[in-house]
């Protein structure tokens, strides 16, 4: 690994203005509200959070599919938002995406062959005689798609097979960075593991960097090196995968982790769940101060007024919680009642 980040997100914000109520009063949804992090080459970086916290929007911002309200996204040192249209389209070769919903991510009017070939056509890649067919063969092979599927249409396939086609399309041009937006959450549990293993193998084969978006810690646990936890448009905690699981520093992370089943059944039986009270607040009217305070069991008066900032609470472990209630509890064992 070199020590130049491949992706650098700085102060990224995306605010949507939406109409509220019958009379069309304008409201602002702060879908992404000041997110910064950087990702190293060939790293797997996870973004985890509940539904509606802005993960998809963040992914689309990284891919420059959405324009940012504020902030920048630098890919290999170049700010994507400052590139000309032509430059941006060229850069997109290296920057690919896998979508959550395999039913909406494949054009129903195109055959599998057309879908996988399209990136090669757009960038005029592998254009020598026979090279495209060879490339497609290779992609089918590594993604586990049968040759006989080439002439068929997406609606003839199951979710898992479709997702493989989507992955083959994303990898067609040998990208460097892949944003995977909940790539398994729409699939049957039995298929999820297959696709996750495939993504893991492909990362080695293609030397990929992943930004892996998920709402489920158990999905990212084995795949990702670092994890950022998001709540209402902000990153509340960012740490290495193992340290985050062993020693969560933010009450929100603690609560989310307590809901993750533990593989060892004897420990699993004694797992204590911390129930989050209430729903995720409306992003149109987020709570004052720390957005998490109404659901936080450690909340103090100051949390209602002062918005926390992301601070390095331990080495390479960043937390947006000045209360820091876990100073005395170094391991997850503390969460298990004996």
């Amino acid at each position: 690994m070199s020590n130049q980040p491949i992706l650098e997100v700085k102060g990224l914000k995306k605010h949507f203005s939406v109409k509220k109520g019958m009379f069309g009063a304008q409201g602002v949804v702060r879908a992404v509200d000041g997110v910064s992090f950087s990702v190293m080459p060939q790293e797997s970086f996870a973004v985890v959070g509940e539904s509606g916290c802005g993960k998809t929007t963040l992914g689309r911002l990284i891919l420059a599919l959405e324009t940012a309200t504020e902030g920048s996204v630098a890919f290999e040192g170049r700010d994507l938002y400052k590139l000309s249209n032509a430059e941006l389209r060229k850069t997109r070769r290296d920057l690919q995406v896998i979508f959550q919903d395999p039913y909406s991510s494949l054009n129903p009017r195109m055959t599998v062959q057309q879908i996988i070939e399209e990136p090669l056509i757009i960038h005029d890649a592998y254009s020598g005689p026979g090279q495209r067919a060879k490339r497609i063969d290779y992609l089918l092979d590594v993604c586990g798609i049968s040759q006989s599927h080439l002439t068929r249409f997406p609606h003839e396939f199951s979710g898992g097979q479709r997702q493989r086609v989507g992955i083959a399309r994303a990898l067609a041009l040998n990208p460097k960075l892949v944003v995977a937006d909940e790539p398994v959450s729409a699939l049957d549990v039995s298929i999820q593991a297959q696709i996750l293993n495939l993504l893991k193998d492909l990362q080695r084969e293609f030397k990929l960097t992943y930004v892996f978006i998920s709402h489920d810690f158990s999905v990212v646990r084995h795949l990702c090196d670092r994890i950022a936890v998001m709540y209402l448009g902000k990153v509340v905690e960012l740490a290495k995968s193992e340290t985050l699981f062993d020693d969560p520093q933010h009450p929100y992370t603690e609560a989310l982790l307590s809901a993750v089943p533990i593989p060892d059944p004897s420990i699993e039986k004694r797992r204590k769940r911390i129930l989050l009270s209430g729903d995720v607040p409306s992003p149109l009217k987020p709570p004052s101060g720390c957005h998490f305070h109404p659901r936080c069991r450690y909340a103090q008066d100051s949390c209602r007024t002062t918005p926390p900032s992301l601070e390095e609470s331990k080495t390479a472990h960043w937390t947006a919680c000045p209360i820091n209630p876990f100073k005395e509890k170094p391991s997850q064992a503390a969460l298990i009642e004996i």
């Binding site: 599919l65 054009n107 399209e118 757009i122």
Partner: protein, 294 residues
């Protein structure tokens, strides 16, 4: 391909109504195609679409062996006019549908895809055109451009595109939010490619259904213009024109209201069945083109 045709046939058979539509249009098509055989033009005629006249008497003559469908006023042969008029009907319908679809796709597609001020501008223009009653606007356009068959087509096309534009815009708005469009954009596809490969193919089918349904309406509007004397020149094989030749004979003669029935009913029914055929076929087209109906 073979599979597709077999599949289309299976769907057609499942719905007797669309089979009737298919039969009607196939019949009219056969008549149009065989026109030179079943109604051969006279040797010295300079344009096969000009209906031969048998004398100049103003009163229509009833069907006879010599004139299968009788004659209209001025002794135009109704059978000949009906057969060649079928070709005119197809030509008007196809030309108008093709040109108004093209304009509708360009305007509706651009409005939905680009949004913002492009959308605003194009849709307000569409609203203005839609605000006029079809027939009146068409009459104005033909009158300004001088009556002729091609100006009839122009004017009917000019009033037909807004409904396509509107329909397409709505579909484009919803399709462009789908992930496969984002995927194409993330691959670096150009706007043109995204529109032509990803968006339009996914919203064109409702448009084609509406187009085949409107084939009939177009023929009616064109016939109405001809009836008003704004279409083809007198004596040209055109159903609307033939009805307009019956204008003075609608009530028959004293004591015999049906004396000249053939001048009204024959072209009238032809238009009726032509329109019915397209309407029934439009429903069938929808079923066949929907790929999920397998």
């Amino acid at each position: 391909m073979k599979d597709k045709i077999r599949h289309a046939w299976k769907l057609l058979r499942r719905r007797p109504a669309s089979l009737v539509g298919f039969g009607l249009i196939a019949f009219f098509f056969a008549v149009a195609a065989a026109a030179p055989l079943i109604a051969p033009p006279e040797k010295n005629s300079r344009d096969a679409y000009l209906i031969p006249q048998d004398g100049y008497s103003p009163d229509p003559v009833r069907p006879s062996a010599k004139h299968l469908f009788g004659t209209t006023e001025q002794q135009y042969d109704l059978y000949y006019g009906m057969v060649w008029g079928t070709r005119t009907a197809f030509r008007v319908a196809v030309v108008v549908v093709a040109s108004s679809l093209t304009v509708g796709i360009l305007i509706g597609g651009a409005a939905g895809f680009y949004g913002g001020w492009v959308d605003e501008l194009m849709m307000r223009f569409t609203d203005i055109v839609l605000a006029f009653p079809d027939l009146i606007l068409a009459v104005v356009i033909v009158t300004v451009t001088k009556p002729s068959l091609s100006n009839v087509m122009l004017s009917v096309a000019a009033v037909s595109w807004p409904s396509y534009a509107r329909l397409l815009r709505g579909d484009v708005l919803s399709i462009k939010e789908r992930d496969f469009v984002s995927a194409a954009r993330a691959l670096g596809a150009s706007d043109f490619r995204i529109l032509s490969r990803h968006i339009i193919p996914n919203c064109i089918y409702p448009l084609l259904v509406v187009a085949s349904l409107s084939m009939g309406r177009i023929v009616i509007t064109a016939a109405a213009l001809s009836f008003l004397g704004l279409g083809a020149p007198v004596g040209y094989a055109d159903w609307g024109q033939l009805i307009s030749l019956s204008r003075n004979w609608l009530l028959g003669s004293n004591g015999n209201p049906f004396e000249y029935w053939h001048t009204v009913f024959i072209p009238g029914f032809a238009i009726f069945f032509f329109v019915l055929g397209w309407n029934l076929l439009g429903d069938a087209v929808r079923d066949i083109l929907d790929p999920r109906q397998k």
